[in-house]
Symmetry: C2
Subunit: 205 residues, 2 copies
């Protein structure tokens, strides 16, 4: 029965395991994150994700739907801390919001586990309109809008986006393109320089 369900697979988890529900869903999601990270959106296929997860493609479709939906689910997991972060970033005095946002941002980028996924999101968003739309929907609509609401000034949305652009630009040059000395600079040194800039974008008059 196991072999009938997955005749070409060897050394994979048993059928019982592959259909274990939440565990399988998580494994597909993890495989999706890895595939998107390594290959980018364009080169990743549902079949490749299924293969990496040791399941049938139909199961990927069953749990997530289309490739775009798998991508969105994978991105959601990646940016989940970011989407939960606004609470931590929003709370506390307004004159410390730039530092809290900057600390949070480098926290997730300096962590190798989340960095891989963030790189995948960034790379995919740069190259693919579908992935860019997911980025806009998740990052902008959910994270930046909440920060804009918190600062509550004219041009709040533009301010939040300019603050984000400073952080995204550093991620680009430090983690993606890896220019020196920025790529090897002590992260605390970067935060010291950048937090006031982010704060300025958000609240300077």
């Amino acid at each position: 029965m196991t072999n009938a369900a997955a005749p070409r697979r060897r050394g994979r988890p048993s059928r019982t395991q592959t259909e274990a529900g939440p565990a399988t869903r998580d494994r597909i999601l993890e495989a999706a994150r890895e595939e998107f990270s390594e290959r980018g959106y364009d080169k990743t296929s549902v079949r490749g994700i299924a293969k990496a997860a040791g399941v049938d493609s139909a199961l990927v479709h069953h749990y997530f739907g289309t490739k775009e939906q798998v991508f969105e689910a994978a991105v959601e997991v990646v940016v989940a801390p970011a989407l939960n972060a606004p609470a931590a970033v929003e709370e506390g005095p307004l004159d410390g919001i730039g530092e809290r946002l900057t600390h949070f941002f480098f926290g997730i980028w300096e962590n190798p586990a989340t960095r891989t996924s963030l790189l995948a999101v960034l790379r995919s968003a740069v190259n693919n309109e579908t992935a860019a739309a997911v980025f806009r929907r998740l990052v902008v609509a959910q994270l930046l809008r909440r920060i804009a609401e918190r600062i509550d000034v004219p041009d709040a949305e533009l301010r939040a986006e300019l603050a984000a652009s400073q952080l995204v630009g550093i991620a680009m040059l430090r983690y993606v393109i890896k220019i020196e000395p920025l790529a090897s600079a002590d992260v605390e040194q970067i935060i010291r320089r950048v937090a006031p800039v982010v704060q300025g974008h958000l609240t300077a008059t």
Copy 2:
């Protein structure tokens, strides 16, 4: 003779034209820029460039060498204004360098002719290590180093890179991922907000 040299091409320039030296070289370069812009580094082939230019692949190799070298040549043309810009950016008082750099940056990004090529450079650098190396060599080594020398302070290179990261981040969110309201904001409004930030990165104590 024309048909023998390019039997499958119709409505293409004649053989005389295709081998006209500088004009041909420029046409290949233009085709390379368009191919890299549309497809990115990974998906662009020398054959595709040759086809778009209406020449034989051998001619592309003859003028430029490998795909990486065609790419570098195409990028050099794109960033040529940037590589010549430091003179304009460097000249004048140091307390206006941030504004000059910011004006220069948005000048080339707001111009549709150069924007397409810049998008190609950015997209390619994000996805391909070879393209990233070209980016580092041209943009960082030539442009940022000169700005760092001009400001001549401790951490000058890191400062120049943080200033660049602010600009690159806006390019990412405004022109690549196109988040709103940043994507539609008046460029002069953006420059007013960003020039002081760039200046601060470069010279603030």
